[in-house]
Structure formats: structure tokens, C-alpha cells
């Protein structure tokens, strides 16, 4: 027998490793509440065999998949179940996205427009008649509040206040801030700059940054997502060539660019994959290698509950954020059961998904109320919206907690900045 024959089983997204054990079905947040969704095993590896025969076996119900990847995390056989589902949506879906989906998907375009007139937009989006129109005409659920738009974009703040001094540091990183930091919550970006500067790193923006496209992919706009992805990857590559690692503060943007670009959009990323990383991972590793030290305020006290965002779990990076948080002496960290919050990016904003989205998250919300922490912490901004809206507890990115707990002067001293 020639070398290599039947030594490995190679199939698209490990389709054939599926043993039909059905374990994934127990962890699908959607099929738990929505019988019209055929569940991960059936939507993925089961039906894929039929779709290979005839594309009429594509079922539009696959749209209900959140792409949370919890099925993949649960799978003992390494089947990329959600990738099979997403790839088949890209390949076979005949229903184009509606205007609402395009609007929700184009977070950066809408964000750019909104920032300019933030007070008006925030008020307008909050008004009942406007919500009714959004609900009725656009299909955006009336229960949803859009995250408030900041009056000043992060980029604008950065250029005015931070950029000039960044070249003065000895070491440098780039920062992919993402739409959320730029338009809605610049404070998180400011927090990161604070920590990195204290540790002796200059922070720089990328030459060009587009929305990572996670919402475009989810809404079936894969062509546009690919175009934006190419722009991002080129910028990241340029940064990497300068020796600057690109940091992020969003687990979803990170996951999309590191994994989904290659798997779903066919963008070549293998050369820059390791130059793109979550800030908490970067910091943890610097500390572990003894390259930097962080000092924390003696008077800092907090009881925080950590929620493992789906994509964070899929990347396997929960450990970096939690191990980093555990370094803060005044912080008590409670691990919440790992389950989906139900928002899944733009998914929960659609009126047809609202109820399902809330049902999916209900177990998590109950547990948070039972734990009753000072705040919840998670690496994903859409989880933050969902949990804040559904529980009333404040949700903070681990980077923000680090920044809050950081003893800046002592850190600067320790790192000889």
C-alpha cells in the first residue's frame, strides 16, 4: 500500500469525523428554544451530505444559526459544525439580505453617520415612534435600545489626545479598535492606551481599519465582508512588517479576522495570524515572560462574574483574560456557567429573533442575578449590550477592569518607562 493511504481522514470542515453522537445538540442555544431550527448536527454534517447531492436540500432555516460555535466547542470529534452551516449559507442561500440586515450589518457606515449627530441619533433612536418604525418597517425589535453613540469617535480622541506622544515609547503595538470602541464606547480604547503606555508601549492605529465584517457575514453579505477583510488584513500585514503586533479588545472582531476570514471568506491570513491578538492575551504573555509588570491599586475591591463569550470560548482564550484578572489582588472572580447570552451580534436586534434571543440568554441572566456581582465582565461588546439590557448589571471588558485597578505610577516605575 502506498504511503499515506487511509492514514488520515480529511474532509471539508471535518464533516466525516462526525460520529453522530448528538452531543452538540445539547449545547445549541437556538434549538433549545426554536423547533424550526434543525439543530447543529442536522443542519451541519447530516444535511451537508444531502447538499452535496442537490442544493435543494439547503434549508433557509439555517439562517437561525447564531454562529456561536458552541456546537464546535462541545464536539469531541473536531467537526467544524458551525463552519459547515455558515459555508452552506454562503454557498446556497438564495434569499438576499433585506435593507434592515444591510443597515445592521454595516456597523461602521451607520456609525460614521451617527457619530456626527450623536445626540440627535441617540434621542431619535430612543423615541417611541422611531422605535415603532424601526420595529414595523425595518424589523428591528422595539425592545432593543441601540447602544448609545458617542459624540466623539475614538479615532478623533486618539488623534487629538494620544497620538502625538506614542512615538516616544521604546516598544510599539497597533490597535484594531473595532466599530464598538470607535463609535459607541471610546472609553475601552482609552483604557487600553492607558495600560499599554504605563507598561512602556506606544499604541498606534492601523493605516486603514474597516469593520471586521462579522455582521456582514451573518447577514449574508459575504462579498462586502471579503472586501473589507482584505483591507484589514493588508493593514495588519503592514503593521506586522514594522514589528508591531496588532491588539484588539473585542473577542468577536479577533475571532472573525483570525479564523472566519480564512474559513468562510477564503482570505489568506496564515502569515499574519499570530500578529493579531487580544490585548489580554498579549499582556498575560508579556507578564508571564517577565517582560512587563503591572502594579495594582491597594484600595481596589471588586467582585466580578466572568461570562465566557461564545467566540472567546471557541478561540480557547478565556484562560488569558481570567488568569490576567486573577492577578488583581482586590478582585474576586466568579466563573459563570458557560452558555450563550443570546444576542449574537445583530441577530438579537431583529424582531423575528428578539424573543428567541432573550429565551436563549435566560439561564445566564438568572445565574447572574443569583451571583449578584458588582459587575459582569466579558470580552465581547454585544454580550455587554445584551447582559446590561437584560439584567441591569453593568458589564465591563477585562481591559477596563485592569485599567481601573491599575496603579499607573507604580506600573510606570516598575517598567522603567
Amino acid at each position: 500500500m502506498p504511503e499515506g493511504i487511509q492514514l488520515k481522514n480529511i474532509s471539508g470542515n471535518n464533516l466525516e469525523q462526525c460520529l453522530k453522537c448528538s452531543i452538540c445538540t445539547a449545547y445549541c442555544p437556538v434549538s433549545a428554544v426554536e423547533p424550526a431550527y434543525p439543530g447543529p448536527k442536522h443542519s451541519g454534517p447530516d444535511l451537508e451530505r444531502y447538499r452535496l447531492k442537490d442544493n435543494r436540500f439547503f434549508d433557509e432555516a439555517l439562517k437561525m444559526c447564531l454562529n456561536c460555535k458552541r456546537c464546535e466547542v462541545a464536539c469531541p470529534s473536531g467537526v467544524r459544525i458551525a463552519d459547515i452551516i455558515q459555508a452552506s449559507r454562503i454557498k446556497y442561500s438564495t434569499h438576499g439580505p433585506i435593507l434592515r440586515d444591510r443597515m445592521l450589518a454595516n456597523t461602521d457606515f451607520v456609525g460614521t453617520m451617527a457619530n456626527r449627530v450623536a445626540p440627535i441619533v441617540n434621542t431619535t433612536l430612543g423615541l417611541k415612534p422611531v422605535k415603532a418604525v424601526l420595529h414595523g418597517v425595518m424589523g428591528i425589535d422595539k425592545h432593543r435600545s441601540f447602544p448609545a453613540y458617542s459624540s466623539q469617535k475614538f479615532e478623533t480622541w486618539f488623534k487629538r489626545n494620544a497620538a502625538p506622544k506614542q512615538d516616544g515609547y521604546r516598544k510599539h503595538v497597533s490597535y484594531f479598535h473595532g466599530c464598538y470602541v470607535n463609535y459607541n464606547f471610546p472609553q475601552l480604547g482609552k483604557d487600553l492606551v492607558k495600560i499599554m503606555n504605563a507598561a512602556g508601549y506606544g499604541v498606534h492605529l492601523l493605516e486603514k481599519e474597516k469593520c471586521c465584517g462579522v455582521a456582514l457575514i451573518a447577514n449574508g453579505l459575504s462579498k462586502q465582508a471579503r472586501r473589507q477583510g482584505e483591507v484589514n488584513i493588508n493593514s495588519i500585514r503592514k503593521s506586522a512588517e514594522k514589528g508591531r503586533v496588532v491588539l484588539t479588545t473585542s473577542s468577536t472582531c479577533t475571532f472573525t479576522m483570525r479564523d472566519e476570514y480564512a474559513h468562510l471568506l477564503g482570505i489568506k491570513t496564515d502569515d499574519i495570524r499570530e500578529s493579531l491578538t487580544l490585548a489580554t492575551r498579549f499582556l498575560y504573555r508579556l507578564i508571564e515572560r517577565g517582560e512587563i509588570k503591572l502594579a495594582f491599586r491597594k484600595d481596589f475591591r471588586m467582585r466580578a462574574a466572568y461570562h465566557s463569550a461564545c467566540h472567546m470560548e471557541k478561540m480557547g482564550w478565556v484562560v488569558y483574560s481570567t488568569e490576567l484578572l486573577k492577578m488583581i489582588p482586590g478582585l474576586e472572580l466568579v466563573m459563570l456557567d458557560s452558555q450563550c447570552c443570546g444576542i449574537a451580534g445583530t441577530y438579537g436586534f431583529k424582531k423575528e429573533n428578539y424573543e428567541r434571543s432573550q429565551q436563549i440568554g435566560s439561564g445566564l441572566f438568572t445565574q447572574i442575578k443569583e451571583v449578584n456581582p458588582d459587575c459582569v465582565t466579558t470580552d465581547c461588546e454585544t454580550c455587554k449590550w445584551q447582559i446590561e439590557m437584560s439584567t441591569g448589571y453593568e458589564v465591563k471588558n477585562p481591559v477596563s477592569i485592569l485599567a481601573e485597578a491599575l496603579d499607573v505610577e507604580e506600573t510606570i516605575r516598575l517598567n522603567g518607562v
Partner: protein, 535 residues
């Protein structure tokens, strides 16, 4: 206890393969009173153990032009009358660097002579239309090959025969021929489920028992020069190809890869085997090795694709009467009038041929039968569509989702309308890999001669998917119980079904297939406590 079936038949057909089923249909359509008897289940012999290939005839164009032109004619007929069993995939005959490219011209010319449309396409074009094909190919010819499902084809013929008055008895084995005054007047039967004996009378017996036909005529002291030729095939976990891929050279081992429903099948080997082994064929490691090695040349990805199972069938090869050595084997249709040949009236043997020329075989046998019985009726099987293809697909409202409906339609054709989809339970799936609903299982039990899980599998594909029955076998056994099967019998049946599935997995039990076998054992033997002999 011996009982006599109180009906006089014109014809008793022995064998529930496609030839017997087709002959029963043809005879019934011509107004004959028909009984078909089968010792096991339909399609239990060669019919259920081949490629499922609707040959264009191209494979035989150079070596056997007569077969080739039969094939293309029947190919076109089956596309019309059995549309629901056929997938019009087309086929490629590829020339690899190790093959003689000059053969291609001979091949194309011979196809032309046989009436087979064969167009030479460039290797680039071949790679484009069939991305799984060996990229090293140096030549390709496109022909109208297709895939055909022999299980559903047989079922459709049986249903139509029944509709035209034929009686069908499965698990009834012929134990003797009733001969009086040099003429056959009936058959003795044993019910293989109950062991009961019975007798049936007729004017004519048609032996359509494939390789087992050797034994049937032997009961009347007649000798046929039949040689069992074993052919082994491998089933892969999913389709790697959407077109049939053949080698453009003289027919040889393992040179056809056929996309069948959700899987693809490579085969076959060809070895003479002793007659005693035909009821229990075992796949050998050498055969598996050969199939993988040759299959990989057709589509390289087979080398890394999960193999679900291996299976083997027996071709009934017949040597010419004047050649007892068996060297001059015919692959064509053989229709023997034993009155002429052996002086025994009332017995016809129809054999040779191919699964896909069954209709023509049935026509020839029925023509002869009609002549003998003095019936003047024309064959209509070439024009009348089979149940499943006839009529319209109907426009039932689609329920929560339609994939199971579509899958059932792929198997039962337009008869899918008879499958109950009204209740939520009927729409729920027994077999998730192959999309078989409770409704379809019930339909098969009620309408398609289902006595056990093996029968059910052949009518519906329950347990034919990736997991080979890991959960669905138990669910299906539960449904069988609810429709009247005794619990103990259902459990015994469940056990033999698990064993039947294992028989095919075992020769290829490595990688995911071994993992799957362990999981199945953990579920059935560990969790469910199903074990041989344990009460």
C-alpha cells in the same frame, strides 16, 4: 404441515431481485396471473450489491458491442419510466498517464457505433465539471452514464406487479419443483419465517433467481454452467464526485466510481468463488486494498475519505452450453427454454445480463412465456412509467422544513404523497443521517413488504448513513413494535441488524469507522444492554 395455495397461477416467478420483479411486472401487465416467490428479501442478491450504475453502455462498447447497444437503449428507457430512481449525473471516461491514450479513439468510435453519445473533452474541462477527478488525467470522454437506485427500482416494479394482480411472497423458498409427465406444474415452498411448507400450482415457472437459479434447475436434474463471480465494493462516507468516473481502458477491477444518493461507491473486484460461499460472502483485506488503491486513481481524495463499509455481490456468469470449462463466458442476456434445451416443459430460466438491462430480460422472458401460454399481448414496460414516476409530484403544503420530504421523494418518487406528514410525530425523523421520517417508516411497513429492519433499510435507507444505525435502528425497532411486531422478535431483529451493519464495517474498521463501531457498541451493548444470549 403442507398447504396448497388455493389459486392457480399462470406463472410463478422465482427470485425477488430486479429481474424477477421486472418479469412479474411485465407478466402482470400482460394479464397473466402471477406469483413471485423470494426466499429472502427483495434485492438480497446481486441486485442489492452492485454499483447502482445506469451504464450508458460505453464500458462495453469496445469489448461487447451488443451489450453496449442494449445498455444505451435501456438507459434511455429507464430515465423515462423510472425517473425517480435515476440521477442524471453523466459520466467521464478518463485516461491516466499510465493508460494508452490511443484507446480513447477506439473507444469513442465504438461508442458511436453503439449509438452512445461520447464527446471528447479536455482535461481542463474534465477537472472543471468534476473537481474530484484525478488531476493528472490526460484525456476524458463524457458519456450519458447515470446512477440508479436498485432498491427503489425493484420496489417500484413489485408495486406495479401487485397493482396488476400479482401475488408476492417474500421469505418463501422454493424447496422443490412439482414435475408431472415431463412438465412443471408448480413449486413446493417453505416459509422461512415459520418453517411451514406449502405448494403452489402454475402452468409455467420462470427461474429468475440469479446465481441461485443454478440450484433451482438442479432440483429438476438440469445442469447449468453457472459460475459465481464475486464483486466487492466500498461505500464512502459522502459524495466526493457528482459524475460517474470510469477508466478509459479495457474493463478491469475497481475502475468505476459512482455517486449514489448521499455516498459514493467504488468497485468492483471480480473473482470466481465456490458455489457454497454465495450465501455468506466475506470481504477480504486484499480486496479492500485493491479497491482503495485503484479508487484513488479515479479520485485521489478517496485515499483520505472515510469508508463506511464494504460489501460483495455475486454475478451469475453463465458459460455457453457447449463449453463446460466455463472459459467462454457471456455477459449478455440468457433466456433458456428448458423444454427445448432439456425436454422439461413449463420452465424458463432468465439470467445473465445486468441489473440495468432487467427490463429487457423481463421482456424476453415474458415474450417466451406468452408464446408458451398462447397469450397474445404486447410488452408495455418500455413506455408505462413505474409507480413513483407516474403521475405528478403533487403540491402538498410543506411543513416545518422540507428536507425529509425531499429525501423521501428521492426514494419513493411521487408516492411520497402516500407518506403521512400530518402529525408532528409522523414528521419526526427516525434516521437523521438519511432523513427518514416516522411517516416514511410506517408507509414502508404498510406498503412495501417490510418484515424486519433489513427490509426497512432497503426500502427507506434507514441505517445506511454515516453512523450505520447508531440511534435510528433502536428508534425504527420501536416504530415496528408500535405497528404490531412482538417486542422479543423486534429485539432479536435489532441484534441481527446491528450485526449485519457490523459485517460491512468490519473490513474497513479503522479511523472514524472504528470509533463509530465502539460508540455503537457502547450504546447498544452498554447502555441498552443488548447482548447476544443475555436475557
Amino acid at each position: 404441515m403442507s398447504s396448497v395455495l388455493n389459486k392457480d397461477y399462470d406463472v410463478i416467478i422465482i427470485g425477488g431481485g430486479i429481474t424477477g420483479a421486472g418479469t412479474a411486472r411485465d407478466c402482470a401487465l400482460r394479464g397473466l396471473r402471477v406469483l413471485l416467490v423470494e426466499k429472502s428479501d427483495f434485492t438480497n442478491g446481486a441486485t442489492g450489491r452492485n454499483h447502482g450504475l445506469l451504464h450508458s453502455g460505453a464500458r462495453y462498447a469496445v469489448t461487447d458491442p451488443e451489450s453496449a447497444s442494449e445498455c444505451i437503449k435501456e438507459n434511455m428507457i429507464l430515465r423515462r419510466i423510472a425517473r425517480h430512481c435515476v440521477e442524471e449525473s453523466d459520466g467521464l471516461f478518463i485516461t491516466l498517464p499510465e493508460d494508452d491514450i490511443h484507446y480513447q479513439a477506439t473507444f469513442v468510435e465504438a461508442c458511436g457505433k453503439a449509438g452512445i453519445k461520447a464527446s471528447v473533452i479536455s482535461p481542463e474541462e474534465a477537472r472543471r465539471i468534476e473537481p474530484s477527478v484525478n488531476p493528472d488525467l490526460v484525456g476524458a470522454v463524457r458519456v450519458p452514464d447515470a446512477s440508479i437506485d436498485p432498491f427503489h427500482l425493484t420496489t417500484a416494479n413489485i408495486l406495479d406487479a401487485r397493482r396488476h394482480g400479482a401475488d408476492i411472497l417474500t421469505y418463501h423458498e422454493v424447496t422443490g419443483l412439482t414435475v408431472r409427465n415431463g412438465r412443471i406444474e408448480g413449486v413446493q415452498l417453505r416459509d422461512n419465517h415459520t418453517g411451514e411448507d406449502s405448494e403452489a400450482h402454475c402452468r409455467l415457472v420462470i427461474n429468475a433467481a440469479g446465481i441461485w437459479g443454478h440450484g433451482i434447475v438442479g432440483m429438476a436434474g438440469i445442469k447449468l454452467n453457472m459460475f459465481p463471480a464475486k464483486g466487492t465494493l466500498l461505500v464512502f462516507g459522502h459524495r466526493v464526485n457528482n459524475m460517474v468516473i470510469n477508466r478509459c481502458r479495457k474493463p478491469a477491477d475497481a475502475d468505476i466510481l459512482v455517486p449514489d444518493d448521499t455516498v459514493c461507491v467504488v468497485g468492483t473486484t471480480s473473482d470466481r468463488v465456490p458455489y457454497e460461499t454465495i450465501d455468506d460472502l466475506k470481504v477480504t483485506q486484499e480486496e479492500v486494498d485493491l479497491l482503495i488503491k485503484e479508487g484513488e486513481k479515479l479520485a485521489p481524495s478517496l485515499a483520505t475519505t472515510r469508508i463506511l463499509r464494504a460489501y460483495a455481490g455475486v454475478r451469475p456468469l453463465v458459460a455457453a452450453d457447449n463449453d463446460p470449462s466455463g472459459r467462454s463466458i457471456s455477459r449478455g442476456i440468457i433466456c433458456l427454454d428448458h423444454e427445448k434445451r432439456d425436454g422439461l416443459a413449463g420452465l424458463i430460466t432468465i439470467t445473465g445480463g445486468k441489473m440495468m438491462t432487467y427490463r429487457l430480460m423481463a421482456e424476453q422472458a415474458t415474450d417466451l412465456a406468452c408464446r408458451k401460454l398462447g397469450v397474445d399481448a404486447k410488452c408495455r414496460t418500455a413506455v408505462l412509467p413505474l409507480p413513483g414516476t407516474e403521475g405528478k409530484s403533487g403540491d402538498r403544503p410543506r411543513h416545518v422544513y422540507s428536507t425529509a420530504h425531499n429525501a423521501a421523494e428521492g426514494r419513493q418518487g411521487n408516492r411520497v404523497q402516500e407518506v403521512s406528514e400530518t402529525s408532528e410525530e409522523d414528521r419526526s425523523l427516525v434516521c437523521e443521517c438519511e432523513e427518514v421520517s416516522v411517516g416514511e417508516v410506517k408507509y414502508a411497513i404498510e406498503e412495501l413488504h417490510v418484515h424486519d429492519l433489513l427490509n426497512l433499510r432497503r426500502r427507506t435507507r434507514v441505517g445506511m448513513g454515516t453512523c450505520q444505525g447508531e440511534l435510528c435502528a433502536c428508534r425504527a425497532a420501536g416504530v415496528m413494535c408500535r405497528t404490531g411486531m412482538e417486542a422479543d422478535k423486534a429485539l432479536a431483529d435489532l441484534r441481527s441488524f446491528i450485526n449485519e451493519r457490523w459485517k460491512g464495517m468490519r473490513p474497513v474498521a479503522w479511523g472514524s469507522t472504528l470509533d463509530e463501531a465502539q460508540l455503537t457498541a457502547v450504546i447498544y451493548q452498554g447502555l441498552l444492554g443488548l447482548a447476544a444470549g443475555k436475557g
